[in-house]
């Protein structure tokens, strides 16, 4: 019982935060995308309930909110792992062997691109150019950037987060 109550409290707190964000952007034209960015920061992803809340708050049809969420690759309908690994598949990274890095990560984590590990620790994503082409191939984990990668380096890098 206690657990449920605290979870509810935590969720309530998140919705309170969301309401504040909605209030801030309600009168601003074109506020939907900034609100969704904030909502994803608060909840980690954008489940249906959150989308409904945003739609009601900004007085937009839910279909429009859903349309925007699914259009942009940054918004996620599924919960993501604690750490999101982004492998850059920009041109510079690609010609320098990013495909092998993807393979090594998939093998090491036992998941495919777009999925999360069962322990909820890692999500594996492919990103567009992160702009660190001089260091290609590159991957990002949260705010950290790793460059000049070889497949052999992958296990060591992952270890730092386990």
């Amino acid at each position: 019982m206690t657990k449920t109550c605290c979870q509810n409290n935590a969720t309530d707190e998140k919705y309170q935060k969301l309401n504040k964000v909605i209030e801030e952007y309600k009168e601003k034209p074109g506020g939907l995308i900034p609100v969704l960015h904030q909502a994803q920061l608060i909840f980690g992803y954008l489940p249906k309930d959150v989308q409904i809340k945003v739609a009601e708050g900004l007085d937009l049809p839910l279909s429009e909110v859903f349309g925007v969420v699914t259009f942009y690759s940054f918004f996620s309908l599924k919960p993501r792992g604690k750490y999101t690994i982004g492998i850059c598949l920009g041109t510079a990274c690609y010609v320098k062997g990013a495909a092998e890095i993807v393979e090594a990560l998939e093998k090491e984590l036992g998941i495919k691109v777009g999925d999360s590990t069962e322990d909820g620790l890692f999500s594996l994503m492919v990103t567009r150019c992160v702009g660190a082409c001089g260091l290609a191939p590159v991957l990002t984990i949260g705010e950290d950037v790793y460059g000049r990668l070889t497949p052999e380096m992958i296990p060591n890098i992952l270890e730092r987060y386990q």
Binding site: P29, G30, G31, L32, I33, P34, L36, H37, E64, G67, V68, F71, Y72, S73, F74, F75, L89, G90, T91, A92, C93, Y94, V95, K96, T127, R128, C129, V130, G131, A132, C133, G134, L135, A136, V138, E143, V145, Y146, G147
Partner: protein, 597 residues
């Protein structure tokens, strides 16, 4: 004002941050404190110095000594030798890959010496987080001059005379764009900066926003004055959090100093800026899609005309320029039209920033006069191709452009010559490829990109690129048919002429250009089922050299498919029908007897 004996510039660009420059910076500060030198040595965290491959890099003035790959452990030595004793730390100097000599001074290094920095004039030189440093370099003087002495029409006239053209891709004359927005009827107008730098392999806009954000703010304010706008937006892609952070700080500082907001510099003119962060959609770099995204909608383009200059954000006249274009403008008004028009070629004035990446020694950002040849960029500034490999091609214009080959090495890089050579300037991505890159695979890569990023609104792009990708994929798998090349060309031409926006219209370019320049390579994949560059996995076969094989049997024991057989001490053989190309044998062979063909 305080004076320092030394200025230590530490590159805080994204590349150097990934190489660990923050720790070097902290170490510098603590070591200087330990040596009681804080009052004599000023440490500045700058934007990208440009040599991303050599990071973390630092430059120490007054001499301008350049140190590369500086680690935390090197800091003590630099302070004790260079700062205290005046002796240079030779082992950290740059060395041109082709020569043995070390080059201690920044100004003597080919990579920097041959550059002409206008858009990047302050990047890597000033602390982007300190507005006073920008002002000390002449920043906001153009804005001051314009607000006090120029009419909006004069600003536009000057800009037209400068010959500046859009640096985001198409090269449209900037002054003309401003004039259209000025002349468009309406009380409310907007200025938008397109910082949705999506071309994979280009990062000059990021570098400007991170290293010199005030130049963009100043230029946008000038633009707003010229067209009569009071609100502006900078649309930055979500992949650039540091750019957003530095730009937000710069906007705040500019407001504090009276360069933004109400009554700018007591001129009576008001203008303010807001940042809008993208959400990961390449198509939003297209101006009408970008506008839709700022409006909070799906980033889908719409047909043009009407152009944004007439019917843009919320239906109002809108001026959209790219970051690099804006960054040129304060410099043009500061130094004058005459100075600017002397740089570059007849039709392409000024400079262009290229993001040099791929198979080249010195990767990073270079800004050179328009008309510099590809050879100079790749071999003189870039230091040539690593590992003694042969130059094969350079891709310009990203997924919308095409490739240039050996015959184009002496081509002057300007808008017209690149189009004539079947490529385009684009935003300035320049990816160098060597003999180990398969051009069919590269074409497939670009199509995969554009197909994935197609917004789906128009049929030619949504379905056409998908069909092209399928054909390219089957060619790289060895399932290509003789007629595939013709089919690709036919599809490419119809998509080019019928797609709604720039993304679709230019998506077939990499395919057409690789077919034109590397038809033999396509044919090798289709007819001979071979990948000459040995990239396409499905076309590779593992073989055992009968001379090198000692018959140890290690490969056979490790083969998961039991595809290798043979007798002890005699050469082993691989049964190609069983081989799954896992590469285990190649990995295990102690005699390097296994090769790919």
């Amino acid at each position: 004002m305080e004076t320092f004996r030394f200025q230590v510039l530490i590159c805080g660009g994204a590349g150097c941050i990934s190489s660990g420059c923050k720790a070097v910076l902290t170490k510098f500060r603590s070591e200087l404190k330990a040596h009681n030198l804080e009052d004599e040595v000023n440490v500045v965290e700058t934007g990208c110095i440009g040599t991303c491959d050599l990071g973390p890099v630092i430059v120490i003035y007054p001499e301008g000594v350049f140190y590369q790959k500086v680690s935390v452990d090197d800091v003590k030595e630099i302070i004790e030798e260079h700062i205290i004793k005046g002796k240079l730390v030779e082992r950290l100097h740059y060395q041109h890959p082709a020569f043995n000599e070390k080059v201690p001074l920044y100004n003597d290094i080919e990579f920097f010496k041959r550059q002409k920095r206008i858009a990047l004039r302050n990047v890597g030189l000033i602390d982007p987080q300190v507005i006073e440093e920008y002002i000390a370099k002449g920043g906001y003087s153009s804005l001051g001059k314009i607000l006090s002495k120029y009419t909006p029409e004069q600003v536009i006239e000057e800009l037209k005379k400068s010959g500046l053209r859009g640096r985001g891709g198409a090269g449209f004359p900037t002054g003309l764009k401003w004039e259209f927005a000025r002349k468009a009827p309406g009380d409310i107008k907007y200025v938008v900066c397109n910082a949705d730098e999506g071309d994979p392999g280009a990062f000059m806009d990021r570098s400007v926003l991170e290293g010199d954000p005030h130049s963009v703010i100043e230029a946008m304010t000038i633009g707003a004055y010229a067209i009569g706008a009071h609100q502006g937006y900078v649309y930055v892609r979500a992949e650039y959090p540091l750019a957003v952070e530095r730009l937000s700080l710069a906007i705040e500082k500019a407001r504090e100093f009276g360069m933004l907001g109400d009554n700018i510099l007591a001129s009576g003119f008001s203008f303010d800026l807001e940042i809008r962060v993208g959400a990961g959609a390449f198509v939003c770099g297209e101006e009408t899609a970008l506008i839709a995204s700022i409006e909070g909608k799906r980033g889908e383009p719409r047909p043009k005309p009407p152009f944004p200059a007439v019917h843009g954000l919320w239906g109002k006249p809108t001026l959209i320029n790219n970051v690099e274009t804006f960054a040129n403008i304060p410099a043009i008004f500061q130094k004058g039209i005459e100075w600017f028009t002397k740089i570059g070629t007849e039709k392409s004035k000024g400079t262009k920033v290229f993001a040099l990446a791929g198979k080249v020694h010195n990767t990073g950002l270079v800004e050179v006069p328009m008309g510099t040849t590809l050879r100079e960029i790749i071999f003189d500034l870039g230091g040539g191709i690593p590992k003694g490999k042969r130059f094969k091609a350079a891709q310009t214009g990203g997924p919308s452009g095409g490739c240039l080959t050996e015959k184009d090495l002496d081509l002057p890089m300007d808008y017209e010559s690149l189009i004539a050579a079947g490529s385009m300037m684009g935003s300035g991505g320049l990816i160098v490829m060597d003999e180990d890159n398969c051009m069919v695979d590269v074409a497939r890569f670009f199509l995969e990109f554009t197909q994935d990023e197609s917004c789906g609104k128009c049929t030619p792009c949504r379905i056409g690129t998908k069909r092209m990708l399928e054909i390219l994929t089957r060619i790289t798998r060895g399932e290509g048919k003789e007629e595939d090349i013709d089919l690709l060309e036919e599809l490419a031409n119809s998509i080019k002429s019928t797609a709604l926006c720039g993304l679709g219209q230019s998506a077939p370019n990499p395919v057409l250009s690789t077919i034109k320049n590397f038809r033999d390579e396509y044919l090798a994949h289709i007819r001979d089922k071979e990948c000459p560059a040995k990239v396409c996995q499905a076309l590779l076969k593992y073989n055992i050299s009968s001379e090198a094989c000692k018959g140890c049997g290690l490969c056979a024991r490790n083969c998961p498919e039991k595809a290798i057989s043979g007798e002890a001490k005699k050469p082993y053989k691989i049964d190609q029908s069983l081989c799954v190309k896992c590469g285990k044998c190649l990995e295990k062979c102690p005699f390097n007897a296994i090769y790919l063909k």
